[in-house]
Symmetry: C2
Subunit: 333 residues, 2 copies
């Protein structure tokens, strides 16, 4: 696509695609070296294709001065996290690169290097996309493809009353990382500060865990809106409530250090976004299988609560008190 | 996905999706009412999936004050045109809506109305996407899906020496429409002016023609960079040259009227973008079948030249003179 108004950068676009982006598609024959109008995906028999799109805008979803390779990895990984939440195996992705004219080639090369590293790590290839210029901020639109056995893909809905509620990894680090990066919170220990920043900037898509959960989970999503709000999404789509034991929610050492210093941060940990951990439900009989899966994949999984009748997400303290969660998109309790 | 920085509009996002976008996905069960992290596509046996992405930026690819329904239809249609160029049957699309905070709901509703009209016309459904806010211009990233019989999808490459070169519809109207809209050219006849503007604003994806060409064309693309440049793309990927007879290139009555008044516009007709007509090659023995296909689909198809040895696109006048094409991205001759 092109209009005369967009054409000034058009020749630049072809060169850019050939030098920066085409190498990322070299292992996917049906991308045709990005020289065609579209790419093909040849579905495996008996599989459903999973498609997801996440858009990131500089100044909104990442900082304009974040390192280019980290921006690339985050943009790809938030999409991979959606695939993980479906239990999908990654296939490929399309990149819509909306670039300010002032963006320099060095930045783009580092950006492509970040993509290349993650492509190798997660066995996924660039297969197409579009590169256009904008008078506005750098914007990245990624569409990722994966596949699952036909009809078996995980959903947000499907939890049953009495199911256990689990979460992978630790919760709230990314929200603290963001707070540290903006100066909204201070972490005097450099090593812990770097852990938090890293968790905000480079999410870990839980693909192996998600694939393993195809056999066990009744509902699943990735925590992007915050634990409280995302538990609410499972409740809403499943027609249930959830009880979460505050003392069971997994926090990292860095997060514990921060809460000890500023107890007021607890709310932020439960409602901050960007964790990209898997939050899922499973029948009580699956508990042992889930422990085995956690060990096999090396991804920590913690039992944090139960699905119950009702529609609210209730976070219970050790003394049985329900604590109020602010700004969770959920204020029923 | 979400960050705290993006969250101010987050609650608004959910309401927006539910009221404006979810109705567009109601006929596609595996979109789950846009309430899940991803959508599924269940491939038909023996088919390849075709995936394409085109991004449009306000002020670059359309005018910020273009009517919302026309912006929607153009954004969808440029993607449908890519599917047409592959011979694909549309399945669904993802919408990445990057919206300025100042955008009002009325605009968005009219935008959704345009999408709904084209969904009905082209038998395609919204199946997912992402809605985010931006401090920059309205940006639309659409990923469209279609399918073709396995291995049969049309490509830019594949033309053979001696193949005929054809184009659908008429060439250059969109470039003139843009020139008229910007005031770069004047068209004193209102009816003709409206034809040209319409051709710029609302492209006609040639889906039925593309599907029919699966059996006949050796190479195919949609004219988005201008006839000369896009003929060059077929030449480049097929390792050939092309000879186009200027007198055979199909111009509309409106375009002929404009050229008669300003012969200097001819260059713009041959190099302007946004025609979204199919440019394709076929063996000489296919000529009759292609005429039949044109009649059956109601899409005019014109024979405009031949594929020849070499690498240049040459446009020949009646007297056998080669005319120079400026700004085609191709200046070899």
């Amino acid at each position: 696509m092109a209009t005369r108004a967009g054409k000034a950068s058009r020749l630049g676009e072809f060169a850019l695609i050939e030098s920066v982006f085409a190498p990322l598609a070299k292992d996917y024959p049906l991308a045709f070296g990005l020289k065609d109008d579209a790419a093909f995906i040849r579905p495996r028999a008996g599989r459903d294709l999973v498609v997801t799109k996440d858009v990131l805008v500089a100044g909104v979803h990442f900082f304009a001065d974040d390192p280019a390779d980290l921006v690339a990895r985050k943009a790809l990984r938030v999409n991979l996290s959606d695939l993980a939440a479906k239990g999908a195996k990654p296939i490929g992705y399309l990149l819509g690169a909306v670039l300010p004219k002032t963006l320099d080639l060095k930045w783009l090369k580092r950006f492509a290097k970040g993509l290349a590293e993650d492509q190798a790590e997660f066995d996924i290839s660039l297969i197409g996309g579009d590169t256009v210029s904008t008078p506005g901020p750098l914007t990245l639109s990624i569409t990722a493809f994966g596949d699952v056995p036909r009809g078996a893909g995980l959903r947000r809905t499907g939890a049953r009353e009495g199911d256990d509620l689990y979460v992978s990894g630790t919760i709230g680090d990314a929200a603290l990382g963001l707070a540290v990066q903006t100066g909204d919170a201070r972490c005097p220990k450099k090593a812990l500060r770097e852990v938090l920043l890293d968790r905000y900037q480079v999410p870990q898509p839980r693909l192996s865990l998600g694939a393993g959960l195809l056999k066990h989970a009744s509902a699943c999503l990735d925590v992007s809106d915050g634990l409280a709000a995302d538990a609410g999404h499972i409740c809403e789509t499943s027609g249930l409530g959830a009880e979460i034991a505050l003392g069971d929610i997994p926090f990292s050492d860095a997060a514990r250090f921060m809460i000890d210093r500023s107890p007021g941060l607890l709310n932020r940990l439960l409602t901050g976004g960007d964790d990209y951990e898997l939050l899922f439900t499973a029948a009580p009989g699956r508990a042992r299988s889930i422990r085995v899966l956690s060990r096999r994949t090396g991804v920590p999984v913690t039992h944090i609560g139960k699905m119950v009748a009702g529609s609210d997400v209730r976070v219970l303290t050790g003394s049985g008190r329900t604590i109020a969660i602010e700004r969770a998109g959920y204020t029923h309790f």
